[in-house]
């Protein structure tokens, strides 16, 4: 296996999997913040559709959502989408549902007294959410968001099933060409392990640092 194959693999990892994951997160996170507020609202027109969205997306396999985006999407919109675009839409929609629940739980963990105090100082409900609730809640939910992002990165390999040439598909291609599946798949697994384990360790470190800071801040 020469340098050419390694460069192909590395560029598939960076240009497809990493870009796919990061773009999907960048789309899903702001959407999830809005959806979480909707899930907490008392307006039935917001609450029920968003609850249904979260429930359906979290109960179906990502693969099925990719099928919808790739095969059915163009039939409805009338314009064909590339496999990458379909995978991006599916992953963003899928992660938005998971992020919504994380953000919702984070907001709910901030005591209502915080909100009442904010409103008492004359902030509007939107301002209270923007300046008081969300900054605290986001900090508290950061570890779960990182964990979910690591899962999203692992899930980005599923895009290969609808024909995106990501690192997994590239490994299949090179494995078929060079007939060295043992080395290639072991290497692929090892690469993911090092990246994801490293990231999750970093997230855990962050969590304990933050727990220490919260504990310190709470002391009189």
């Amino acid at each position: 296996m020469g340098w050419a194959a390694l460069i192909q693999l590395a560029s598939a990892l960076l240009w497809i999997n990493l870009r796919l994951t990061l773009t999907a997160i960048a789309i899903a996170l702001p959407v999830a913040c809005l959806f979480a507020l909707g899930r907490l609202s008392r307006l039935p027109l917001l609450y029920y559709p968003l609850t249904a969205y979260v429930n359906v997306l979290r109960s179906s396999p990502l693969l099925m959502i990719m099928f919808w985006a790739y095969y059915t999407g163009p039939m409805i919109t009338g314009s064909p989408a590339s496999a990458y675009m379909a995978a991006l839409i599916a992953l963003a929609a899928f992660e938005a549902a998971y992020f919504t629940e994380i953000v919702r739980a984070g907001i709910q963990s901030i005591a209502t007294s915080q909100r009442r105090a904010a409103l008492a100082t004359g902030l509007s409900p939107a301002q209270a959410a923007r300046y008081i609730i969300l900054p605290q809640a986001l900090r508290r939910m950061l570890p779960s968001l990182v964990t979910q992002s690591i899962i999203a990165f692992q899930d980005s390999t599923i895009a290969s099933v609808i024909g995106v040439t990501d690192i997994f598909q590239m490994t299949n291609i090179i494995s078929a060409r060079e007939q060295r599946p043992i080395a290639l798949y072991t290497g692929l697994a090892a690469m993911f392990f090092v990246l994801c384990y490293g990231l999750s360790r970093a997230a855990r470190g962050l969590e304990s640092r933050m727990a220490a800071r919260v504990a310190g801040g709470a002391a009189p």
């Binding site: 359906v56 109960s59 179906s60 396999p61 990502l62 693969l63 099925m64 959502i65 099928f67 919808w68 095969y71 059915t72 039939m75 409805i76 690591i150 692992q154 899930d155 390999t157 599923i158 290969s160 099933v161 997994f168 299949n172 494995s175 599946p181 043992i182 798949y185 072991t186 692929l188 697994a189 993911f192 392990f193 994801c196 384990y197 999750s200």
Partner: protein
């Protein structure tokens, strides 16, 4: 739109029979994997709090290994690479007996057991320690304490987390199509490619998974109610 919506493709021959078969395969894959995963996961979760350092290290390595590699990569590793490490006749026998569904079940069971082990460990941390010490101080051996005192209590408190893993097994089983198992996702794609009735095919596919997920959620909420430890609040949210 290229053609009219026609739901009858889903039950007209030849697809009607295939849809039923594919759904049954999804159920079979998920339920068998879940049964293995539950046994393995509880054992490994317990081992992570065992009084033996080697057992703890091994169990932790196991959990981290399966958690940090994408399921798709694990599946291909089990399906392609593992048989190549076996001698030739054994390998051929494996494929003759149907290595496709077997490798999918094996991978799903290993992957899910690692996640169950994590839940067992956090349950153990939440409620198990004092109970475990109490059980040990009555003269039970470590294994007896786990078997009669700790496991029943811990398992009953982690029913909600187990429920979500149970749903995840059904979702994860969709990846078995990549090694050629004719389950729901595989048939969804084939139906769409052959008839171009994508809306009908995809609706069928997602409906199967939603019905599975919601049935499991309902079943597990019954289990939760039935197995609730008296005096402990369940998942009930406070107003």
């Amino acid at each position: 739109m290229p053609q009219q919506i026609d739901w009858s493709v889903l039950w007209r021959p030849p697809f009607g029979e295939m849809v039923v078969g594919a759904v049954l395969t999804t159920l079979e894959l998920s339920l068998v994997s879940w049964a293995f995963a539950l046994i393995l996961g509880v054992a490994i979760g317990m081992a992570r709090a065992a009084p033996l350092r080697a057992a703890r290290l091994l169990a932790t390595a196991y959990v981290e290994l399966f958690r940090n590699i994408p399921l798709l990569v694990q599946l291909f590793f089990v399906y392609y690479v593992l048989p190549r490490l076996l001698p030739e006749p054994l390998r051929q026998g494996l494929f003759r007996l149907g290595w496709e569904p077997a490798s999918a079940v094996l991978t799903l069971a290993l992957y899910t057991s690692a996640k169950i082990a994590e839940h067992v460990r956090s349950g153990l941390n939440a409620v198990g320690r004092p109970v475990q010490l109490g059980a040990l101080s009555t003269g039970l051996t470590w294994l007896q304490a786990q078997r009669h005192v700790v496991a029943p209590l811990v398992l009953r408190t982690i029913v909600p987390s187990l429920a979500s893993e149970f749903v995840t097994v059904f979702k994860s089983s969709s990846l078995a199509m990549t090694v050629g198992v004719v389950e729901t996702s595989y048939l969804t794609q084939q139906l769409g490619l052959q008839t171009f009735h994508w809306i009908e095919a995809n609706t069928m596919g997602i409906a199967v998974y939603l019905v599975c997920a919601w049935s499991v959620a309902l079943l597990m909420s019954l289990v939760e109610r039935w197995s609730r430890v008296p005096g402990v609040l369940g998942r009930r949210t406070l107003p």
